[in-house]
């Protein structure tokens, strides 16, 4: 920044202007230097904040991997647990149990959630607003409350099934997934451009047909993302399963019986003093972590593809 100074003696008036201009420039330069330094300090603090944010993730993944990966093997994934002291145990019962429980939950939650999302998209008014509000509030409900709700309805005295079962766990997880599916589906369906709707309707096509052929197809990546994120959230939940599914160490495939689950295995084994049980628990934690991360990453990839497509 060069300082053009009028030659001295050009006149009192221009002198005053020049001095004033110089004063302003000088103070601006100083304040800019000050503001730049303050900005740099603030940006450095933000970078520290980012580092602090990333530290737990790195620590968690590193700890889980270091304790869990030693145990991982094909037999670990395909055998049932053995009593303490006997080698060769594994977590196949937990994997199968988790797949069945979460699978049943998805079978319940995805159709109901999509139907409800269709309702919200098609209808305006207080009822739709109330349901949307209800979905927003339901996302904030603690998962233990949903587990106890499932217990009261399906397990407690005088209820439908009467004993601990995988189905009760599926019900609790389905109620957990429902608001996520509803909101994600509604957002995905609303993101389909309005003119596609109208074009279909203008052709005289039935409304349901328009939704089926145009809207659902166009919203499919968003629907898949939302459902995958809901499944990822359900797979990692422990509290609702704790009170509805008793847990089982042997392989159980009947959802009306207590079954094993990955998160329950971790909880039951992780604090044990016996090293073999601890290894079992952390191996399970590693498997669960990988499963949830894979689901989240896949959901994100699908959503990125959706964004790229929409921008085109």
């Amino acid at each position: 920044m060069s300082l053009t100074v009028l030659p001295a003696g050009s006149g009192d008036f221009t002198d005053a202007i020049g001095t004033r201009r110089e004063l302003v420039r000088e103070s601006a330069r100083r304040s800019l230097a000050r503001r730049r330094i303050a900005g740099r300090i603030a940006i450095a603090l933000c970078m520290v904040a980012v580092a602090i944010s990333l530290a737990p993730l790195v620590a968690l993944v590193a700890y889980t991997t270091s304790r869990g990966i030693r145990v991982l093997s094909w037999s670990f994934l395909t055998h049932v647990p053995t009593p303490p002291g006997i080698p060769g145990g594994g977590i196949s019962s937990a994997i199968v149990g988790s797949v069945i429980i979460v699978g049943l939950a998805a079978v319940i939650a995805v159709p109901v959630g999509t139907m409800c999302a269709l309702f919200l998209v098609e209808r305006r008014g207080r009822l739709a607003g109330a349901i949307r509000f209800g979905a927003d509030v339901l996302t904030g409900v603690p998962s233990i409350a949903l587990g106890i709700f499932a217990y009261a309805v399906l397990i407690g005295p005088g209820s439908l099934i009467g004993h601990f079962s995988g189905l009760a766990g599926s019900f609790a997880l389905a109620v957990l997934m429902l608001p996520i599916v509803i909101r994600a589906s509604e957002a995905a369906m609303r993101s389909v451009p309005r003119d596609l709707w109208e074009a279909g309707l203008a052709l005289g096509v039935r409304r349901s047909r328009v939704v089926r052929s145009v809207v659902l197809r166009g919203a499919l990546p968003g629907l898949v993302t939302g459902n995958l994120l809901a499944v990822a959230r359900a797979v990692g939940e422990t509290a609702p399963l704790f009170v509805t599914v008793l847990g089982a160490s042997l392989l159980v495939t009947n959802p009306l019986q207590p079954m094993g689950a990955l998160s329950l295995t971790i909880f039951n084994n992780a604090n044990q003093a016996l090293p073999a049980a601890q290894q079992l628990a952390w191996g399970t934690a590693f498997v669960l972590l990988v499963l949830v991360l894979v689901l989240s990453v896949v959901a994100r990839l699908v959503s990125a593809r959706l964004n790229r497509q929409a921008r085109r």
Binding site: L77, T82, P87, V96, V99, H163, L220, L246, A273
Partner: protein
């Protein structure tokens, strides 16, 4: 221009369909892969389900010899193992004697060790005490190997969970460290209580540099758990342990956050020996499974939580089932018993406590603070809870034979894990109790 817009839109739609189809492919491939993995896992998985289907077809007649325990592909045969931390020696699996008697019957018949492995097929589910879990998992595993038609799932969620569950008839059997108050009953009728094992409660501590066998008595322990004694080199402790160099570390008392049998035992012991400091506090004069003083120290869930916390916290002291402390290699307190001796928990001292229960029953079950030179004062029997009236006869037969096996042949597994085998009079009591099982019509399930 109209046509151009149309063709552009047609192109876009085409791309959109392609992309969504590709996403659909990706999604369905992922789903198929997960499904395939679970199917493979189910297929390769161990014997009880697969073999059960095979043996269901073959065991039809009543005169069969007991099937030799075959180990099929997935289950590894039990072999002597050494684990790095636990000093316990794990014994080779002892197979039960092959039954040669022709009088055994899978629909009832005599209840004897020879016939215990012949029963209808049944997938039993049980819940209850955390303390008995190491014993139960091992015993049920060996039983399933000997009798392929029965498999047992046990959930060690705690004695109270077991009691609640069996009272509401949501499990096949429960297990509790403390018997239910008689007359015990639930939604399915009367409940019978069968003693199945004998265990002890160790007071474990983590004090680097101090050897095992630190001497403590009732008043001192009460002071620790009431928060009155806060340092390890407190005068009360040093008075009992002259010559031991105690550091000035803070004591961290650890207790069970949930209801527990070990908690009940320690509460009973402190009521008996802790004096008015304990009985005058919130603990009162009746022992309870929920630890009464909850504003001192740290509460952790289950034996595993307490053991884990003791392991990682220098200065911690807590109560755990002896089997857990043996597995972890903890240093245990030598507790003062009614005879005035300081006894450490061990298989022999716990057996000595059990042998004092000459008139054991569900109403007279307390063996805490027993006398005798080598008796450990914190021991208790574990009680399995079954409905007397079994609505499903074959399930009742299977359960009866299972627990008869557990109380006789299965006791061989107890020692290696840190439990003591049942004394002979207790085995007889168990047998007598199991003989009272009856079917829905009121007829006894077993003949003798």
């Amino acid at each position: 221009m109209h046509r151009g817009a149309d063709s552009r839109r047609a192109r876009d739609n085409h791309d959109g369909r392609d992309v969504s189809r590709r996403s659909l492919h990706r999604w369905s491939t992922l789903a198929l892969a997960l499904g395939a993995l679970s199917l493979v896992a189910a297929a390769c998985s161990s014997t009880p389900t697969a073999a059960k289907k095979k043996t269901q077809k073959t065991t039809a007649s009543t005169t069969t010899t007991s099937p030799a325990p075959t180990t099929t592909s997935a289950v590894v045969a039990a072999a002597p193992t050494t684990t790095t931390a636990a000093p316990a020696a794990h014994t080779v699996a002892t197979t039960p004697p092959k039954a040669t008697s022709s009088a055994c019957s899978t629909s009832g018949g005599p209840l004897s060790a020879a016939c215990d492995t012949q029963s209808p097929s049944f997938k039993a589910s049980g819940a209850g005490a955390n303390s008995i879990q190491p014993f139960f998992t091992r015993v049920f595993y060996y039983y399933s190997q000997a009798n392929k038609s029965v498999s047992v799932n046990y959930s060690p969620a705690g004695s109270s969970v077991g009691v609640t569950d069996i009272e509401q008839n949501t499990v096949s059997f429960g297990d509790s460290e403390i018997p239910i108050k008689t007359p015990a009953s639930g939604t399915g009728g009367n409940i019978v209580q069968v003693p199945v094992d004998l265990g002890g409660v160790a007071i474990s501590y983590n004090l680097p540099g101090v050897a095992a066998g630190l001497k403590l008595d009732g008043p001192t322990l009460a002071g620790i758990y009431l928060g009155k004694i806060t340092k390890w080199n407190d005068s009360a402790i040093t008075a009992l342990n002259p010559g031991v160099n105690l550091p000035p570390t803070t004591i961290v008392p650890v207790r069970r956050a949930d209801s527990s049998g070990p908690g009940y035992d320690l509460d009973q012991y402190l009521i008996d020996t802790g004096g008015s400091t304990w009985t005058g506090s919130a603990a009162g004069t009746t022992a309870s499974t929920k630890w009464p003083i909850t504003n001192v120290g740290i509460g952790e869930q289950l034996n595993t939580g307490v053991a884990g916390f003791i392991q990682q916290t220098p200065g911690a002291i807590g109560y755990v089932e002896y089997a857990y402390s043996l597995q972890a290699g903890f240093t245990n307190v030598a507790l003062k018993n009614a005879a005035g001796s300081y006894v450490k928990p061990s298989q022999s001292s716990i057996a000595a406590a059990g042998s004092q229960a000459t008139t054991l029953s569900a109403t007279n079950f307390n063996i805490v603070n027993g006398g005798g030179a080598g008796t450990y004062p914190l021991a208790n029997f574990s009680w399995t809870l079954l409905y007397q009236k079994q609505s499903n006869t074959s399930q009742g037969v299977a359960l009866g034979k299972l627990f008869d096996w557990v109380t006789t042949t299965g006791q061989q597994q107890a020692t290696a894990l840190g439990y003591s085998p049942l004394p002979a009079n207790v085995v007889a009591l168990a047998h007598q109790t199991l003989l009272t099982l009856e079917n829905s019509a009121g007829k006894a399930l077993f003949t003798s």
